[in-house]
Symmetry: C2
């Protein structure tokens, strides 16, 4: 077990096992063969061929395409193919910040292999002995990954907010971090991965933030998503990431990136250093 | 012009235009079709097919293979196909730190498309107004990239030294940085790229270091490789990287990575942010 295993567990998807989903002039999703068969029941919306799926060409703009997909996804949900329906619209775009081409119910993103964006923030304290990180334990009643360890604050990106606004919102909701402290969060990069699970494919991108916190600040869960926060020495967090799978799959790479940027991994001593750095970005997909 | 153009100019090579070079049980180089034709003159060493090149299978160990390649490379050099013969051995390995499979004259690496490693270090000063970087101007008489701008210290990785030892050595030689200051250099990642030039292909990897310097320290060129050092505000360096090609091709990505890690690029304002982060690593080649 080691850092590379954590990155591989997060980046375990392979688009070659999926059918590209095209519409509105571009490829915007990846669908497994089993799910492609389910989509054959909706020929007014999906044209399913052996090697690709196309939206009906009549669905040529944002409103028409979004409206046509909605009853299909609701039907799939009622049949039990989409867990955790959230009633939350997700804007589908090729790149972050670009105009969306359509919107779908958020829970359908993995089913259709649609890229989504979010941020992960590591709160840390520079103690004289060593750097310490505030690690969250996810609520044991959360539907997704209950009880797993998590970065201090994280959240999917909702329509209509900037990244900085979403960071401030989630900092307040998940950890009671005041706005003036959240405003000092530093954007330090973006990681991409392609994760496969029972829900489908997540070819996602995460914006990473560092937030140095004063010694006397203690984050407090406020929306029930987090069970507790613990301030851990970096060496302890590193051992948990390296030797266990206690962290949620996409939190480990964010921490590994943190270890790299803060010089906590030594390229003279870590034989996988180059492979670790290179594997924190997936190659762009067509 | 922008950051992505700088990364593309560094990462302008495409191994699909090259023949894979195999030997000692693995692919270890990439050779252009024109150079593959030249290698046909040495059938005792190279077996050149339409789609790949193999070392003669009799060259089955480090010493035999290295000894067989040497006269071929000297001959190519005498014919003018290898510029800047350095009389410096380069250990060929699949990954940094692994046992080398053979060694070659360093100047032959791009000709044969052999991966090489090095480090780039950015020296910086935290001034109250903003972060400043020490930028080097390369000697106008250096054979490679004369007069271009460069990171504070950089160097290829020689056989027999650790990265930390090489950082200390080059810090002293190129910038008169004392050993105790060089020892505070922080390893902050590794970037990979695939660069094509008249010399051949460089599918290389660079280890990146940050070195925070005291306000009153001034680096001084000591081995003639650097013309001068200038302390520049980060905003000025950013504008030079973004809007000009004054930096040597592989220094711009190291600076862009620095800008990202230090929060100098804002993902809410930089529309290419995600693409920039993703393109600082090339996908692994087979």
């Amino acid at each position: 077990m080691g850092y590379l295993d954590r990155i591989r567990a997060c980046n375990n998807g392979d688009t070659r096992r999926y059918l590209p989903l095209h519409g509105l002039g571009r490829r915007f999703g990846w669908v497994s063969p089993v799910r492609a068969d389910l989509l054959k029941s909706y020929p007014q919306v999906f044209r399913v061929a052996d090697d690709r799926i196309d939206l009906d060409p009549a669905l040529a703009d944002y409103d028409t395409a979004s409206a046509a997909l909605d009853p299909v996804l609701r039907d799939l949900s009622e049949q039990g193919h989409l867990p955790h329906w959230r009633d939350e619209r997700y804007a589908v775009a090729a790149e972050f910040g670009e105009d969306p081409i359509l919107s779908v119910e958020r829970t359908a993103c993995p089913f259709l292999g649609i890229r989504s964006w979010g941020f992960h923030l590591n709160g840390f304290v520079r103690r004289p002995d060593s750097l310490h990180l505030w690690i969250a334990e996810r609520s044991h009643t959360k539907p997704t990954y209950p009880g797993q360890l998590d970065n201090t604050v994280a959240g999917g990106h909702p329509e209509g907010l900037s990244l900085a606004q979403n960071v401030a919102k989630e900092c307040a909701e998940e950890a009671s971090i005041p706005a003036d402290m959240a405003a000092r969060a530093v954007p330090v990069g973006m990681l991409s991965y392609c994760h496969e699970s029972d829900d489908g494919l997540k070819p996602d991108q995460m914006f990473c933030y560092d937030l140095e916190m004063p010694e006397d600040f203690v984050p407090v869960p406020s929306d029930g998503e987090v069970e507790s926060f613990t301030l851990m020495p970096a060496a302890v967090v590193m051992a948990i990431v390296r030797d266990t799978d206690r962290f949620k799959f996409n939190c480990a790479p964010v921490l590994i990136n943190f270890f790299i940027r803060h010089g906590l991994l030594d390229p003279d001593r870590e034989p996988d250093y180059g492979r670790i750095c290179a594997s924190l970005q997936t190659p762009p997909t067509p």
